[in-house]
């Protein structure tokens, strides 16, 4: 009886074509819907007892301390490389002294949040997907339920919250080390005047630039951890599927960061019109 009902009733050719074309769209909205559902549950459980602060701290440590070396490394070179390119461009107009301001602004608004999010997706997001996936296939998630522990509350909520909290912090670390990289390149290697490097940086960047970067970073933290938890939590099968889920988590997390970057940047642009 199952088979009979699932055989498509022949209809007009147009309807069939339309149905086929609608499939990916339906898939996309189903995908969005499932993610929203998980996010909603994770948020609801945030406000219910028992609160387990230890789990949140563990995740913050995993995301923050664990990603620190890579953030420092990437941050330093991003700052240095943008200084390199900027100095080269500004030299055409003899305006190298603006390098501190230019690099500082692009780090604050764009480079730091996006690169930090991509690094953390690769490192922590993949880790989350693998961990939840292997917990799923080894029945640890079922075991949590048998002790009347809600697995979303226990596993997903702390990861999402910790990411939302840690991403802005790590972004600020990225900013700081990026400026150091830019300073070292511009002042020490390219011989830009220290005074004007700092002077223009201070004059042209503004706390609100850093606030915008932090808001972006928090949004990225939510989306990358949601993608990772969703993929890991819903694994079916064995070790191979865990590997696939991890790959999907990194791809979905990175894509969501870049896509959201556009939309959040746009939205923030209306709240924080360009000043100075």
């Amino acid at each position: 009886m199952n088979e009979a009902s699932s055989v498509p009733v022949p209809r007009g050719r147009l309807a069939v074509v339309g149905g086929v074309l609608a499939l990916p769209i339906r898939g996309f909205f189903g995908y969005l819907g499932d993610h929203s559902m998980m996010l909603w549950k994770a948020l609801l459980w945030l406000f219910r007892r028992p609160f387990r602060p230890r789990l949140f701290l563990e995740q913050m440590e995993f995301i923050g301390v664990g990603s620190l070396p890579i953030i420092l490394l990437v941050g330093f070179f991003s700052g240095a490389v943008s200084a390199q390119q900027t100095v080269r461009a500004l030299k055409l107009f003899g305006q190298e002294r603006f390098v501190g301001a230019t690099v500082g602004l692009s780090l604050a608004l764009e480079l730091a949040p996006v690169f930090t999010a991509l690094m953390i997706t690769a490192r922590a997001g993949s880790g989350m997907a693998t961990e939840l996936g292997s917990m799923r296939i080894t029945e640890q998630i079922d075991a949590l339920s048998t002790f009347a522990v809600n697995p979303v509350q226990y596993l997903v909520t702390p990861r999402i919250v910790a990411s939302v909290v840690m991403l802005p912090i790590m972004t600020m670390v990225f900013n700081a080390i990026g400026l150091i990289g830019a300073y070292i390149y511009a002042v020490i290697i390219a011989g830009v005047d220290v005074g004007s490097f700092i002077e223009h940086f201070r004059y042209l960047t503004d706390p609100s630039d850093y606030l915008q970067g932090a808001i972006k970073a928090a949004v990225f933290g939510g989306s990358l951890s949601l993608a990772a938890c969703y993929q890991g939590y819903n694994v079916r099968g064995g070790a191979k599927e865990v590997g696939l889920a991890t790959t999907r988590a990194v791809v979905a997390g990175s894509v969501s960061v870049l896509v959201l970057d556009f939309f959040v940047g746009d939205a923030l642009g209306t709240f924080f019109p360009f000043q100075s």
């Binding site: 961990e131 080894t138 029945e139 640890q140 079922d142 075991a143 048998t146 002790f147 009347a148």
Partner: protein
Amino acid sequence: MPASPSPSPSPSSSPARPPVPAADLTKPDPRWQIRIRGLNKTFGPQHVLRGLDLDIERGKINIIIGGSGQGKSVLMKHLMGLLKPDSGNIYVDGLDIVPLADVEMAKLRRKFGMVFQYAALFDSQNVVENIAFPLIERYKLSRDEIMARVRELLKRLDLDHVDGIEQKFPAELSGGQRKRVGLARALIDRPEILLYDEPTTGLDPVATKNVDEMILRTSHDFGVTSVVISHDMASTFRIGDRVSMLYEGKILVTGPAQDVLRAPDAPVREFVEMAGLTVPPLGVSA
């Protein structure tokens, strides 16, 4: 979802069992703690449980045997609400658990302890944290009280002489040790009903005997109702009070261990003989 209110659509599916009016199922029964009726479960095209009926006897050791992939683990997960059936009812002390919502189900689960087939220990927690998990989640006990109960169980399960066991992580344990830690975790909150999914598969004969004794003692000392999935026919007939065989999505035979051992049905005979068990072991309690 169950379309049956109080008046009874009589279950005509199981001629082997004296027919019980459906209304009785919703009252706690002195003998049968869990009563399963007409359980169906499909995974996509695969029809795993096909209208299964089974009664679990209170305070006894109820063993479920059956070939690999017949759905024993699936059946057990239904008992704790980890899986929802497509249709059918599961009465635990007269309460149908199938339609229960999460919160009520969580409350009901406190009656149960479950030993998973592959232990399902929490990788990120050490042995003590794993065993103490139900206590830490459910009560506010002092560290000393928790440690006392953990150590008592480690001792009863012969794990106390493994060096540094308390601080080890699951990845550092052998398969048999992992199983016993999983058993300890299920036992620590002294549940009313214990579900064991192949507790002795993969253990050496000595460890098997110890786990068997553990199951027996827990059942007798605390009057726990035990449901044990087992491949091990020798221990089945050593400790089992009742034995049921799951075959093609239904219970083929069920009854006192000795009766089932001698049941004429071909799948039972095959199972018993393939297990190398030719002589009924002595000392089986009727």
